[in-house]
């Protein structure tokens, strides 16, 4: 589904990713772990198309299409969706309005009509209930005055409504207490499906107790130095990244 090959990325003339290769197939959950500054968030930002990241070498394809040639919105319309570590506030724009615009923009790109309002409301209310969010969230401005936990839930809510093919979650666990983490993890787990892949970017193993990945990659200094299953994450927790770096060297 997603193929990243020998990816080199520079930010402000500094090389962050130095030849990263990654293959994600439909139905899989991948976790990328690594110390601060290893380039974890850079990877998901580049895939989503954020400005300021220069790809100097390598390629990214999604379902055979060249992702780097696509506009930001085209990537989302193709089914690549990024959940933000720090979702931005948009005053004046209601949450429900953003959800509806995003869903209908994606439907339009796929040649579908706008979803009828009653159907949309039913969908949103169901997902809202799943994320244990109050209906008043819909009427609030996007992320405005949301607590850290509310913002993260809101990101997952969008995922549940938009149903991407590849959901990328950047440090979705940061700043969450244990109850909020469980709700977020339940939301992510409910996305697991044959036809869908999930890419988790995280610093801590903790999240992976709730969302058990099929594959764990250790990213150090711009490269994936080790790949394993969920067990690898547990080793990391016990030995830290230092040990991995040494064994990889």
């Amino acid at each position: 589904m997603l193929q990243v090959t020998d990816l080199h990325v520079t930010v402000e003339d500094k090389e962050i990713l130095k030849g990263l290769t990654l293959t994600i197939n439909a139905g899989e959950v991948h976790a990328i772990m690594g110390p601060n500054g290893a380039g974890k968030s850079t990877l998901s930002a580049v895939i989503a198309g954020k400005d300021g990241y220069e790809v100097t070498q390598g390629s990214i394809t999604f379902e055979g299409k060249d992702v780097l040639e696509m506009e930001i919105e085209e990537r989302a319309q193709a089914g690549l969706l990024l959940g933000f570590q720090y979702p931005v506030e948009i005053p004046g724009v209601k949450n429900i309005y953003l959800l509806k615009s995003a869903l209908n923009a994606q439907r339009k790109a796929r040649g579908l009509e706008d979803m009828p309002a009653p159907e949309f409301m039913k969908l949103v209310k169901e997902k809202l209930g799943f994320m244990k969010m109050d209906a008043s969230f819909l009427q609030r401005a996007v992320n405005e005055g949301f607590s850290g936990g509310e913002k993260k839930r809101n990101e997952i809510l969008q995922m549940l409504v938009l149903q991407p093919k590849l959901a990328m979650l950047d440090e979705i666990d940061s700043g969450l207490d244990i109850d909020a983490m469980k709700v977020v993890a339940d939301g992510v787990n409910s996305l697991r499906a044959e036809e869908r892949a999930i890419l988790l970017v995280t610093h801590y193993q903790r999240l992976l107790d709730y969302i058990v990945p099929d594959k764990v990659h250790v990213l150090v200094d711009g490269r994936i130095v080790k790949t394993g299953d969920a067990e690898l994450a547990k080793q990391l927790e016990a030995n830290g990244y230092e040990g991995i770096e040494e064994s990889a060297a």
């Binding site: 506009e71 919105e73 989302a76 979702p87 931005v88 948009i90 005053p91 309005y97 953003l98 615009s101």
Partner: protein, 480 residues
């Protein structure tokens, strides 16, 4: 996003730019007492009206064009302007839509104003002003059954001279300011509304103004009077064809509300703003003022300003009556090289008077925008209250937003609140929306409409939809 890319995106074309080819009965450029006599005669006006105009003209000659506004434009040559232009048609004018020049109707169609449909479906009486002459008036009969007079100001001068003598120039005196004096001397048409005591006007009144003949100044004069306990909602919408020469527009609008009367005046303005280098475009110098003359009367101005090269406009309320209310809700959008100096004046004279100001300014491209507001509380205005909210939204890094709030408080019992914010559409906001599959333009429009929501909800329904659409056209590609 790179700067060049931004600049490219900000460029856009004026969608309403086309010229209707209708023969005009146009006066050659120039202004003197003969010009005024010609206009007055052409309008079939009585002698006292001509004298009124000449008085204004003589005062204007001794006045100076104001220079205090935060605007920069070359001097206007008032002798290079033609002061009268009327579509060439039988002197009586058409009695129904069937008699209207089909080309004109076509023009309205292009602007998305299906006149008959709109009139019939929405129950809106439309007094369409094309250049300087009222071409068609619908629903006049229904209105007259309710006792409401809705006609062109020229007709009113002929048919209701007593009302005109009683009210014209009482809110905006002939020598109020330079542009108002000019208008008083040379106004060619406009609307007149009179709602008698106790009557709520049975429909929303709407006028579409359009400037057409090349090099023609347009000087509209509008007078709306609501007697005791009368109510009216008046809608004004404007678009203009593309043009090279700058066109001067100096309108005067006067509103009079007596005891317990309510006048709601809504404007959507989309005149040609000029090209990307600032060439062409309408110069809009407007004096709009409402007089809350009666106790508990209320006047509400709502405006959406997207057009014009230069805007100089301060719809105001004089709160004379005890417990009267003045409101001003405004969205002003500038793009390209547009300049706008706009705001309001709330003059509290009576006891217990209240005023609300919500002004939203959006600047994009290389445009420059100022909010200028005066809240004045007189010594007799015991317990007067004002609330002002003034927000600016910047798109890109080449535009400007300025706020000039003035407060003159002559009474210690007054309560004044002022809130102001300035924000910028951030790249991170756009990235967030786009990463959800929403196009850049839709994202901008979503954020801008969210910003303007408080004002749009004050507009009558059909106008709110139009305003939203207009905003999207105006800001097409204006991303930074």
């Amino acid at each position: 996003m790179a700067t060049e890319e931004m600049e490219q995106l900000v460029r856009r074309e004026y969608k309403d730019g086309f010229v209707t080819d209708i023969e005009s009965d146009t006066l050659p450029p120039g202004l003197d007492e003969d010009t005024i006599a010609f206009i007055s005669k052409k309008k079939g006006e009585p002698e006292w009206m001509l004298e009124w105009r000449l008085d204004a003209y003589r005062q204007w000659l001794n006045m100076k064009e104001p220079s205090w506004a935060h605007l920069d434009y070359p001097p206007i040559d008032y002798q290079a302007i033609s002061y009268f232009s009327a579509p060439k048609r039988p002197e009586d004018g058409p009695q129904s839509l069937d008699e209207v020049d089909p080309k004109l109707l076509e023009t309205y169609e292009k602007l998305g104003i299906p006149l008959h449909e709109r009139a019939a479906l929405a129950g809106v009486a439309v007094d369409a002003v094309f250049d300087s002459v009222s071409v068609t008036t619908t629903f006049k009969k229904e209105l007259s059954e309710a006792g409401v007079i809705f006609c062109s100001i020229s007709e009113a001068i002929r048919d209701y001279p007593e009302l005109i003598k009683q009210y014209l120039g009482t809110v905006v005196p002939v020598a109020d300011n330079y542009f108002a004096a000019l208008n008083s001397a040379v106004f060619t048409d406009g609307s007149f509304v009179f709602v008698p005591e106790g009557v709520t006007c049975p429909m929303e009144l709407s006028t579409y103004f359009r400037i057409n003949a090349a090099n023609t100044g347009q000087f509209e004069r509008t007078l709306i009077i609501c007697e005791n306990r009368a109510q009216v909602s008046y809608l004004e919408g404007c678009t203009a064809p593309m043009r090279d020469e700058n066109q001067l527009h100096a309108a005067v609008v006067e509103l009079v509300a007596l005891d317990d009367a309510y006048i709601k005046y809504s404007t959507v303005q989309n005149w040609y703003p000029g090209d990307e280098n600032g060439k062409g475009g309408i110069y809009n110098f407007v004096t709009k003022r409402g007089d809350c003359r009666g106790a508990r009367s209320r006047i509400s101005w709502t405006q959406v300003e997207t057009g014009s090269a230069i805007t100089w406009k301060y719809p105001s309320c004089v709160l004379r009556g005890k417990d009267s209310i003045g409101e001003f809700y405004s969205v002003a959008v500038t793009n390209g090289r547009q300049q706008a100096d706009t705001g309001t004046k709330m003059i509290h004279i009576g006891e217990g008077t209240r005023s609300y100001i919500v002004a939203k300014g959006i600047s994009a491209g290389k445009s420059d925008q100022s909010y200028r507001g005066l809240v004045k509380i007189g010594p007799r205005a015991k317990g007067a209250r004002n609330f002002t909210q003034c927000d600016s939204l910047l798109i890109g890094d080449k535009c400007g937003a300025h706020t000039f709030p003035y407060q003159e408080i002559g009474n210690s019992t007054a309560t004044i609140e002022h809130e102001a914010t300035t924000s910028k559409i951030g790249e991170d906001q756009l990235f967030y929306c786009r990463s959800r599959g929403i196009s850049e333009e839709d994202a901008v429009s979503m954020i801008v409409n969210g910003f303007c929501k408080d004002v749009f909800q004050e507009l009558p329904m059909e106008f709110a939809v139009e305003a939203e659409a207009l905003l999207n056209v105006t800001l097409e590609g204006a991303v930074g």
